[in-house]
Symmetry: C2
Subunit: 316 residues, 2 copies
């Protein structure tokens, strides 16, 4: 079994590669829910949705979010009714939010609702929201504190960021199955997701970081930072706000208390040698996922690195 | 000001004609909410929607319900997620239910939510749901008691009906503005709607029947029964279940305690003479609304009859 911590569009691409080189039943995804928010009265869980869509072949490759070939009739009509339209929900995409919200209002947990939805879509992997508790990523910009979606989607991450916090994390607990998945995994991978706002909320949930520290499996991360900048999105600015170097060293630092190996892009192979040490193994390969082949090749390389790492670890 | 009690597809057609012969600002619609139900976790108000759509030029003339030219992408996706699909909601139509449900969850009443939606759509007439209280039309068939939508849409009104009741009506009160609209109207019209399940629930709401009895304005109804059968839908079977003759006489009987005039189809002109009396005036005209012209001509005739009736009433 492989446990994967993931969130964001980089995470979804990595998951897409992974599901093609590992039998889907052997994959458990622990997914960021810090971006969850209420929209039009519905519970939206953007990262859970992206993983769900990628695993069911529904994700729009063009956009990197939402359902491929979706239409936006409802969104257009909502504008006319005075509802905000800056978060774009397609008509097919909407079904997931409606179904989830309906299940939650019937008393199901987010985990249970996710299990029902993924099962309906024929997904064989396990998709675990990191927690059933409300944890909300809050971003402080010069104008004040706003939600992550406000910062990321509505304001298109243009604002300077002073700090990031995960509201509710201190009182949260890991969703059922999350800690077990980590402790029983033979390999644990951190997708090339934003370390601050995609992986950060997962690590902030009570018990998850501890489980990673306790795990005897090799734990590897793919750096979302290439050549001193994020491959996409605001990871750079957010890492800087959290006082992390915007470099592969910063990624290593974010995970330093549990990480066994770090996969950096070939472009960073040299830079990574600066902090290679006995504890942290470094691998380099092409991590930029432009094509389907890039995705599967990266996944294959990562799994291979982890197998190597495991051997080394067991031998030590 | 004209107050109109309405519901169902016959009601929507009549309203379409009326809005073309009377300035929309002078029209107040008191609309059946006995068919309201929860669907996919959303509050659906079919009769309020039909009137809203007809007044904003959105109603599908082809179907008689929903939004013209709508698509059904979300519905198809909902089927895959295991939600029922027998009540067909289009993608644009969905926006109305989402917006209403969102407003209700924010604490707005059904009346307030309806006012916001109709305003957004540029509707100048007043659309008043009959009540903000939960009133539910329940139909008893041989297999037991079911909801109106279950009987009407899912089972396509094929079951024999033993009885009909309006659950919650005894504890309901008319929505703000309803009694005032009736008492201050210069003319009150009952659309050619099903007397049992479209107009019946309105009359069952506390205070509405009394207001009609107290009104000094002429009150007229257009018969939905032509030649001893309903123009469309299950009005015949439901009238029989309520021990009403399935005829224009049955329509007169349903409204006997407040009705001043009844408009019957030309085909029933003779039959209607059987119960013409000093209290109830009878008019006949073409009431079958196949074309747009049929709708406006019927509306024009009804308003004209009401004006005559008023004079007669004042003179007596």
């Amino acid at each position: 079994m492989i446990a994967v911590l993931t969130g964001g569009t980089g995470g979804a691409k990595f998951v897409d590669g992974l599901r093609k080189v590992v039998p889907p039943r052997e994959l458990t995804f622990i997914v960021n829910t810090g971006d969850d928010f209420e929209w039009w009265g519905l519970h939206i869980s953007p990262d859970v949705d992206s993983i769900t869509y990628v695993l069911s072949d529904l994700l729009s490759k063009e956009r990197g979010w939402g359902v491929d070939g979706d239409t936006f009739q409802c969104l257009e009509a909502m504008k006319r009714l005075g509802e905000p339209a800056w978060f774009q929900i397609g008509d097919r995409d909407l079904s997931t939010h409606l179904r989830r919200t309906h299940l939650l209002r019937e008393g199901k947990t987010l985990c249970e609702a996710t299990a029902e939805i993924t099962k309906s879509l024929g997904i064989e992997s396990t998709v675990l929201p990191m927690t059933n508790s409300p944890v909300e990523t809050r971003v402080t910009i010069p104008e004040g504190e706003i939600s992550f979606q406000d910062y990321f989607v509505r304001r298109r991450f243009r604002d300077p960021v002073n700090s990031v916090r995960f509201s509710g994390a201190e009182n949260s607990s890991a969703a059922p199955g999350v800690v077990d998945a980590i402790l029983s995994a033979e390999m644990i991978l951190l997708a090339p997701s934003n370390p601050v706002t995609s992986i950060g909320p997962i690590l902030a949930v009570s018990g998850i970081r501890k489980a990673l520290q306790d795990s005897t499996a090799p734990i590897g991360a793919v750096s979302p930072i290439v050549g001193g900048a994020a491959v996409s999105g605001p990871a750079g600015a957010l890492m800087a706000a959290q006082k992390l170097p915007v470099s592969v060293a910063g990624v290593a630092e974010a995970y330093q208390d549990f990480l066994d190996f770090l996969i950096v892009d070939s472009a960073d192979a040299e830079a990574s040698q600066l902090f290679t040490n006995a504890r942290l193994e470094m691998y380099s390969t092409n991590t930029i996922m432009k094509t389907n082949d890039d995705r599967t090749e990266l996944a294959r390389a990562v799994v291979s690195f982890a197998s190597d790492s495991k051997k080394l670890k067991v031998a030590s």
